[in-house]
């Protein structure tokens, strides 16, 4: 075993929760209202239901090989070379996703918080902290997640409670105005922006891998409550049109808070909340890709790979989008389809082949 750390059941729940909130809290409200209009929250609900269904598939697959990660058990299922090819293909997805996450941090910080700082500086500083956390291992990261969780919950409750007076319920009406199709489209995009499949890499490092299903489900449900609340609040407070026009709708949402002309401009709180969650999402992704590569190539230590990967990630995150327009053109539409390959096709195919093979073996033995 390359990684000797072990995380508890509760720590996996906390990591899943932060991972689910991840980038979604900032970018999902706008995407949902563009594609599903005022029914965005229903689309989100459907997307999350599908997500929970797929967590059952992921945990069943991981439960068949409780001590191995995807990079290792794919070799057991489809043979050495095809297995290695699938792992590397899968890892390329996680690597690209990490680069996207880094770029989203850079974009947000340069457009909203620190406009005079070059994007490279933000990205390099962020990846340095991420690499540091990855080198310390999953145990340390999980403990840090437990420490940060109360802050995330407190900030979120604070933002929600102070937005309640501004809710106007008629903004979600008419419900189902355009029928089911836009809701399915929104649900498809929402599902693919969660990327729960990467959490499968953490299952072997929990105390009881067979019980990981519960932790993953609980974490995802709790995180999804936060996301659905944000989507619903964006529509209820800002209205559909205004949410569509803002790329970071929930940040604009936090700007609306005004209590007696005294408590105002608290949007930095949302930025802090989001930076904490995206930090943990990026750490999990970079950790998964370093560990997976080390396992696929049969190296002794995954930490060796973290620094070169950091350099490559900074480079890739600056290369992937020329500007924000190409980000908008790519992210929900094409990215969702790209993510489907890794979130649906590969896990389902691996599970199917594995079930078929173990079925054949049983037939021969009886």
């Amino acid at each position: 075993m390359i990684e000797k750390g072990k995380i508890s059941h509760r720590q996996l729940t906390v990591l899943t929760l932060l991972y689910t909130i991840g980038t979604s809290i900032l970018i999902v409200p706008s995407i949902m209202s563009v594609f599903s209009k005022q029914d965005g929250w229903i689309a989100c609900l459907v997307g999350i239901a599908v997500n929970l269904l797929f967590i059952l598939i992921y945990s069943t697959l991981a439960g068949r090989y409780p001590s191995l990660t995807l990079a290792e058990f794919s070799e057991k299922i489809v043979g050495k070379w095809l297995g290695k090819a699938i792992s590397l293909f899968f890892l390329s997805f996680i690597f690209l996703l990490s680069a996207f996450l880094l770029r989203v941090v850079g974009n947000f910080m340069t457009t909203h918080i620190m406009p005079n700082t070059p994007i490279e500086v933000t990205i390099i500083l962020f990846i340095s902290v991420v690499i540091y956390a990855v080198r310390l291992g999953i145990e340390t990261t999980a403990r840090a997640a437990e420490i940060f969780l109360p802050f995330v919950i407190a900030l979120f409750l604070f933002l929600t409670v102070f937005l309640l007076p501004q809710i106007e319920l008629d903004r979600v009406e008419p419900i189902f105005e355009n029928g089911m199709k836009p809701i399915i489209l929104g649900a498809f995009y929402c599902f693919n922006l969660q990327e729960q499949v990467i959490l499968m890499m953490l299952i072997p490092y929990t105390n009881q891998p067979r019980k990981a299903k519960k932790a993953l489900l609980a974490g995802t449900v709790l995180g999804s409550v936060v996301i659905i609340t944000t989507v619903l609040l964006s529509t209820l407070v800002l209205g559909t049109e205004f949410t569509q026009r803002n790329m970071y709708a929930s940040y604009t949402l936090a700007k609306q808070i005004s209590v007696g002309n005294f408590l105002q401009r608290v949007e930095a709180m949302l930025a802090i909340l989001w930076l904490i969650t995206i930090f943990f999402k990026t750490v999990i992704c970079v950790y998964a890709v370093s560990l997976g590569t080390a396992q696929t190539l049969k190296l002794k230590d995954y930490r060796t790979l973290t620094l070169p990967f950091g350099l490559l990630l900074v480079f890739l995150s600056l290369l992937v989008y020329d500007n924000i327009i190409s980000f908008i053109a790519f992210t929900p539409k094409v990215f969702s389809l790209y993510a489907t390959i890794f979130m649906v096709l590969i896990p389902v195919a691996l599970l199917g082949i594995d079930a078929l093979r173990s079925g054949l073996k049983e037939d021969q033995s009886t």
Binding site: L185, P308, V320, K333, V334, Y338
Partner: protein, 80 residues
């Protein structure tokens, strides 16, 4: 000029952090993977500094998946 100095300094720091311990533990395979990844990274960053054209993986994904993505989008009434 500064950016080249920064790149060389960063590369030197990465080598100083990783290589001695790898060498001491005689992990030759790890050292090979580490060096090739680092070389790839430095090479690509250098190409970016020199304004050479670097193919963007996102464009490749976009090229392959765009037709299907558009079809799904229009079928589900996204164009309205």
């Amino acid at each position: 000029m500064m950016k080249y100095v920064a790149l060389i300094a960063a590369t030197a720091a990465i080598i100083l952090i990783e290589v001695p311990s790898l060498w001491k533990r005689r992990l030759i395979k790890d050292l090979w993977v580490f060096s090739s990844l680092l070389l790839l990274g430095v090479g690509l960053v250098m190409m970016r500094f020199l304004n050479l054209h670097i193919p963007n993986p996102v464009n490749g994904i976009d090229y392959v998946l765009q037709p299907l993505a558009e079809a799904i989008f229009h079928y589900l009434g996204g164009g309205q």
